[in-house]
């Protein structure tokens, strides 16, 4: 369970997030949508503890900066974060050791699914941007987080990786993990989202729940809201 209450983040005079509250329940997939500069990455960085903020963020009932919360959190940043001088396998070993996780089999499974196993001895600096993104995903998931935050996870991925990642989203959902995805690729999340939050100017312009009704097209909703039209259909 991911819970955000009254989060405000200011960069000097710029109000990046203005009193934002939302939640993503266990086994739910939440989507963050919005034009560039809407404040999506800022709220994600607040959740992961990379930015200071006012308000409260809880991960499985623990304050987000607590060790218990960090243990339960997986974060895939917008820009892949890999170490130039570690091999692919060493990245995963480092994360396993840092998180005190002994399950090596799951790591291998993730690497195989994202077609990185045959590159396990390659250095981070030798990987293409897409491969770095895949490695970043593996690093964030190898300790089996209870809350997974994805910031533009599909950018740079090849079709096979996109397919696998979508399957991983569904599996995380089935396992009871709370998943939050920030994306511009609306069609990529069309068929499995539970709650979509549309952000404009640091605020939530709308929150939509996917109740399985016909005519709930995320793309239509997005354009209606961001282009100032009254949305038709969808539970708002």
């Amino acid at each position: 369970m991911l819970s955000i209450s009254g989060v405000t983040k200011k960069y000097r005079k710029t109000l990046a997030n203005d009193n934002i509250s939302f939640a993503v329940g266990d086994g739910q997939i939440g989507i963050l949508l919005g034009p560039n500069g809407a404040g999506k990455s800022t709220i994600i960085k607040c959740i992961t503890g990379l930015l200071r903020f006012t308000g409260r963020i809880e991960i499985d009932g623990f304050e987000n900066t607590s060790l218990e919360a960090k243990r339960r959190l997986g974060y895939i940043p917008e820009m892949p974060a890999v170490y130039d001088l570690l091999t692919v396998e060493e990245h995963l070993e480092f994360i396993r050791r840092a998180y005190k996780v002994e399950d090596e089999a799951y790591t291998r499974q993730l690497l195989e699914r994202l077609e990185l196993w045959d590159k396990k001895d390659k250095l981070g600096k030798e990987l293409s941007k897409g491969m770095q993104q895949k490695l970043s995903i593996c690093c964030a998931l190898c300790h089996r987080p209870r809350v997974a935050i994805f910031d533009e996870p599909l950018v740079g991925l090849d079709p096979h990786a996109i397919k696998e990642l979508k399957a991983i989203f569904r599996e995380l959902k089935q396992s009871g993990c709370s998943v939050l995805i920030s994306t511009h690729m609306l069609d990529s999340v069309e068929d499995y989202w539970d709650v979509a939050n549309i952000m404009i100017g640091g605020r939530f312009a709308a929150t939509c729940y996917n109740d399985g009704r016909e005519g709930q097209d995320l793309e239509d909703l997005f354009f209606q809201i961001t282009e100032g039209q009254k949305p038709q259909g969808g539970a708002l």
Binding site: L50, L85, L86, F94, I95, A98, Y99, D121, L123
Partner: protein
């Protein structure tokens, strides 16, 4: 209508000036630099020698300095990522445009020349001591700067030509590098041979350094000593003007022009175009620019990394950070000491020889002078530790471990390297200047305490100024903070030395000074680290 390249050059220049005026951080930086310059000049006024040194000595210094910079630029791949001839925007916008490649090349060369001039401006800060020793004027200083800019430009151009010729050829780079090293060694041997009458007595115990220095200066300030490619010629032009030697100016200038023509011909005729060759450098430069904008410390990773043994094998929780750092160090070719630390160690070792001669047997004064120099350089080497690089990745913040524990393991590798560096540096320095064993031990202890202090300073700057967007300002704050943190230790050391009776001082040598500094430094470091223990929990990492 103005040509596209002319428009681009003019508009970029105009916008850079506007940007400088609109950016308070940059303006503050310029004002502070101007103030430092004024202080360095005014602080020395009135100290001029009654009989200034002969200007040919200045030509010799220029030949040495220009030569060193020329080789450094060549060694680092001069068309380097920091000052590339073409930016990525040039590559993506100009190269596909219907412009003649030679005109684009001319644009790149002009840009490089401008950049070289800006880089050379740092020499302005040397005006103070040059004025004292040589009684130079600002016109002389301008000439020295122009000569340096010319040298950097030629080095970058040479490097580009080398790159164009060697790209895609497996061993060509190694062969060329060997040639450059070989030529440099030959040049040094030639100098040693020419000055043998003054140098040989030194080997048999003579202490007449003045004759040796004068002999070397004589070689470096006239032909054939000025024949060292590019650097010697640039020094020859400036030295010739300073000493009124028209022949030297003309020959040196002709050699420089000939080099530019040869390089131009090489680059233009080598392949159909040089675009492919500069693309990689431009991309690298762009990633450096982006990293700098985002406050990241871009690691200089060797091109060919030897992976070797894989796996961390040790570490659980926060300690995994330390074992990861050890692997990264091994792969980046660092055996306890980084390349920059090695250079600093070499400089201080070299200085210790001069200090031994200059202090005329006063080992204490020589050791203190070397220690002060080493500590000053330590400020910069400490900023490049692996700890600072770790802060740019999110993992250290996300790790579910107590922040203080993560902090200590993140700096563990740096501190161990610092202990090793202190021993490697001050044991030989102590032996060279003739210091006693106790003084050497206390000196090592004090050095380690400064390492701890500067590491704590790094943490403090990250904690307090981590959110400042201008990285120039952060660097400025870093230096100011470190200077403030250093003061109590230095004061305590000096006070302890003064308080101790002469009998105790005689028995313990510099113990009072070094131990006083060390005790206060350690105390301040521990306090700062404790106060900043939450750095890795409540990070403000907008760009990371």
């Amino acid at each position: 209508m103005r040509s596209a390249l002319g428009y681009l050059t003019f508009t970029k220049l105009k916008n850079q000036i506007k940007d400088l005026l609109r950016s308070p951080a940059k303006l503050i930086y310029v004002v502070v630099m101007a103030a430092v310059l004024a202080l360095s000049v005014m602080g020395r006024s009135g100290q001029e020698l009654e009989e200034p040194m002969a200007l040919y000595n200045l030509t010799a210094i220029m030949t040495l300095f220009y030569g060193f910079m020329f080789l450094m630029i060549l060694a680092t791949g001069g068309n380097s990522a920091k000052t590339p001839m073409f930016t990525l925007s040039d590559v993506t916008l100009l190269f596909p445009a219907p412009l003649r490649p030679n005109r684009v090349l001319a644009y790149g060369l002009m840009r490089q020349l401008g950049l070289s001039l800006v880089m050379a401006l740092v020499l302005v800060f040397q005006y103070g001591w040059l004025k004292v020793l040589f009684d130079i004027t600002w016109v002389h200083m301008a000439l020295i700067i122009a000569g340096f800019a010319l040298c950097i430009f030629l080095a970058a151009f040479c490097s580009m030509a080398v790159y164009v010729y060697t790209s895609g050829k497996e061993n060509a780079g190694t062969v060329l590098r060997s040639c450059v090293i070989g030529l440099t060694v030959l040049y040094l041997l030639w100098m040693a041979w020419s000055c043998r009458d003054a140098l040989l007595p030194l080997l048999s115990g003579s202490k007449d350094y003045t004759a040796a220095l004068e002999s070397c200066a004589g070689f470096l300030s006239r032909f054939p000593g000025l024949l060292f490619p590019a650097a010697g010629w640039a020094a020859g032009i400036v030295g010739g003007i300073l000493t009124g030697d028209t022949a030297m100016v003309l020959i040196s200038a002709a050699l420089c022009v000939a080099l530019v023509v040869v390089l131009l011909v090489l680059v233009i005729t080598c392949k159909n175009n040089y675009y492919e060759d500069v693309l990689e450098t431009a991309e690298l430069a762009q990633s450096n620019v982006t990293a700098q904008k985002e406050g990241k410390v871009n690691e200089v990773v060797p091109k060919n990394v030897k992976v070797g043994k894989t796996g961390l094998h040790k570490g659980w929780g926060a300690s995994a950070l330390y074992y990861k750092h050890r692997i990264e160090n091994r792969r980046s070719g660092v055996f306890f000491l980084s390349n920059m630390s090695l250079i600093f160690v070499a400089i201080v070792l070299l200085m210790s020889f001069f200090m031994r001669a200059a202090m005329e047997g006063d080992a204490t004064a020589a050791l203190i002078a070397c220690f002060a120099m080493g500590t000053y350089m330590q400020i910069f080497s400490e900023a490049l530790g692996r700890f600072n690089r770790e802060l740019i990745k999110p993992y250290i913040y996300l790790m579910p471990e107590p922040p203080l524990k993560k902090l200590l393991y993140a700096v563990k590798e740096t501190l161990i390297s610092d202990v090793f560096e202190a021993i490697v540096l001050f044991v030989p320095v102590g032996l060279i200047v003739g210091a006693g064993p106790l003084d050497i031990v206390f000196c090592v202890i004090a050095r380690v305490s400064f390492a701890l202090l500067f590491t704590a300073g790094n943490i403090l700057v990250e904690r307090v100024f981590g959110t400042v967007s201008s990285k120039t300002l952060v660097m400025f704050f870093y230096i100011v903070v470190l200077l403030l943190m250093v003061l109590p230790g230095v004061a305590a050391g000096a006070a302890l030395m003064a308080v101790l009776s002469s009998a105790v001082s005689e028995a313990l040598g510099l113990a009072g000074l070094f131990l006083g500094m060390a005790a206060v430094n350690v105390g301040i470091s521990v306090l700062v680290m404790y106060l900043c223990r939450n750095l890795l929990q409540y990070a403000e990492l907008n760009n990371r």
